[in-house]
Assembly symmetry: C2
Homo-oligomer: 130 residues x 2
């Protein structure tokens, strides 16, 4: 059994200036709207809302994922939140127009991002040793 | 379809000095060990590893959750990681001794933490207006 019916993760990963990111695309407003709407609709006991770090999908920011279903939403804005809460979290019907279904593309994007990150970290570690 | 077979979330929420938290209980070392072990065991293509913010379960830190199964681990240390990767992520058998199964207790703890956070935020907002 899960502590909550739904566990939402919204990316709030900060990036250097000029780099695309969920926060610069509006994820903080999405997070605030979710917290507000979930309470307003009386779903507080059903929903756990958690911030998360980069999932490597910054080109389609802001990104959020709803578990345990594993429904991924991309380019979510605060204006979409009432529909997400009402349709998905209350009625159990994910909001089709916002769902990102191309798992292969998501995986490729995420893996590419991870590789770049690891290379950057390795280069930084090497520079620290030189 | 999910982009990855497993999606792991490890809490890395920073807290004020003296307050129990996942990072001060070792979550950064857990995260590094997971990244290293997942690669070493050739599971990189199956596992997405993401940091996350506070889930209100700080008294049992460090906490991590594995989706889509929704398996919660508590008091995870870097020394547990090889077993988690080998047993859970490779063989599909979650590590029983580390699983936190009391969903009711988790929910109560998380809700209490959330209420305190909201009260603190409301007090801060009020103080800002005064």
């Amino acid at each position: 059994m899960e502590p909550f019916r739904f566990h939402l993760f919204v990316c709030t990963q900060q990036k250097p200036e000029g780099v695309p990111s969920c926060p610069t695309s509006g994820s903080s407003a999405v997070l605030e709207a979710l917290d507000r709407e979930v309470q307003a609709r009386g779903l507080d006991a059903e929903v756990q809302l958690t911030t998360c770090g980069c999932m490597g999908l910054c080109d389609e920011a802001p990104v959020m994922v709803v578990y345990p279903e594993g429904v991924w939403y991309r380019r979510v804005q605060a204006s979409h939140v009432p529909e997400i809460v009402e349709s998905h979290l209350r009625a159990g019907k994910p909001v089709e127009k916002l769902i990102w279904r191309d798992a292969a593309a998501m995986k490729a994007m995420s893996v590419e991002h991870r590789e770049k990150y690891r290379q950057a970290m390795a280069a930084r570690a090497k520079a620290g040793k030189d």
